[in-house]
Amino acid sequence: MIQKRFENTAKAVADIHDGATLLVGGFGGSGLPSHLIAALVDQGAKDLTVVSNNIGAVSDGVAALISNNQVKKIICSFPVGPHADDLIARFQNGTIKLEISPQGTLAERIRAGGAGIPAFFTPTAAHTELGEGKETRMYNGRLHVLEQAIIGDYAFIKGYRADRWGNLVYNKTQRNFNPVMATAAKITIAEVDEIVEVGELDPENIATQSVYVHRLVKLEAECEGRVLVNG
């Protein structure tokens, strides 16, 4: 019987190794898997490459991993924000590498990773600093740059409801990067508000199919777990 549920976030992230590539969903604080991030701060894996759209937007996002010195490289479209001070400091002293990818290119590189497409041409960033050093080619009279797929060892995803098979639905714009990141990691870990019986989710309305989700944590159980650990 398929059973993807983990007792708490600590157990769900326990095997993440130093040097892992981690995709983190969310758009700022919206749809952010902040409990998984908190568990990874506790777990302490180092030298991570983190792929996430917004880095400095909220304190409980990727910024927490940076402040805890767990990150060696960031791939994102929007590094700045009120919680970017530690990223800026580490970038300037050379302890963190930063790769800025236009948001649509970032999303498409992740989709490509999940879809078995190693590289694609896009008009985005042609003739700009972010296209420099990349292979270019003309299509339809327009310059395009060749971009490479991104695949994670792990993805952290925030969903609204899940079933035991790992099907996910999201709530409104919580969706953002979560469905695409779910497709592009060897191990996708989802924190969700609710886990329902198999068959309760509308088959027309499942935004992330069961095949893409490997571990599930229900947030209330997690909170109880953390209380137990702390107590």
Binding site: F27, P79, G104, A107, E108, H127, T128, L130, T173, R175
Partner: protein, 228 residues
């Protein structure tokens, strides 16, 4: 109706309204962060303009009433908004497929600099180690029309220039520039002023613009948008 000299030009919300006036019935329009997000609050009555937000939403509505905010329903600036009937949600990859695929009629964006040829610089200031590109590069290559919506100057320095000195977002992509002082079209013949904001003269505008401006052939409009 020329206003008191103390207050020259359009306020932010007046500027957003002026942009909204030029969005046509049935258009699909992306709103960038900053002043452009205000456009959602001032769509003219009776016009169906379907607003797109890069984070995966079509059918963006105005700001919610106080107390009705839902942090799972936000715009490109992560601010709470509402969804209009007929709206829909989708992923960021689907959202940018829509943008890059040329399906949006217009994008309303902010800018650091725009050149006489419509080059746009909006993601990085020269000495910033980081930059923040977001969706700007995808929107500038993908949307059918790029309308800038911005303050005419930044700390007194003109943002409309002969040539951008900041790193480019995309070359030759801007169609129109809406500022607190004027409406300017980027054309083959250069920057053509179509309208002046209340209290603004052509000379006043040219003084604050680091590129030569032309007057639209049929003359300049100058209206108080609040009267409309």
């Amino acid at each position: 109706m020329v206003k008191d000299q103390q207050k020259v030009g359009w306020s932010k919300i007046e500027l957003a309204s002026r942009v909204a006036q030029d969005l046509e019935d049935g258009w699909f329009v992306n709103l960038g962060i900053g002043i452009p997000t205000l456009v959602a609050d001032v769509i003219p009555e009776g016009r169906e303009i379907i607003l797109h937000s890069e984070n995966g939403l079509l059918g963006l509505g105005p700001k919610p009433e106080p107390g009705q905010e839902d942090m799972d329903l936000v715009n490109a600036g992560k601010e709470p908004i509402t969804l209009k009937p007929g709206g829909s949600f989708f992923s960021q990859s689907d959202s940018f497929a829509m943008i890059r695929g040329g399906h949006l009629d217009a994008a309303v964006l902010g800018a650091f600099q725009v050149s006489i040829e419509g080059d746009l610089a909006s993601w990085k200031v020269p000495n910033d180690p980081l930059g923040r590109v977001g969706g700007a590069m995808d929107l500038t290559v993908g949307a059918k029309r790029i309308f800038l919506c911005m303050q005419h100057t930044s700390k007194g320095n003109p943002k409309i220039v002969e040539e951008c000195t900041y790193p480019l977002t995309a070359p030759r992509c801007v169609d129109r520039i809406y500022t607190d002082l004027a409406v300017i079209y980027v054309t083959e013949e250069g920057l053509v002023v179509h309208e002046l904001a209340p209290g603004v003269t052509f000379e006043y505008l040219q003084e604050r613009t680091a590129a030569p401006l032309k007057i639209h052939a049929t003359g300049l409009a100058q209206e108080d948008i609040l009267q409309q």
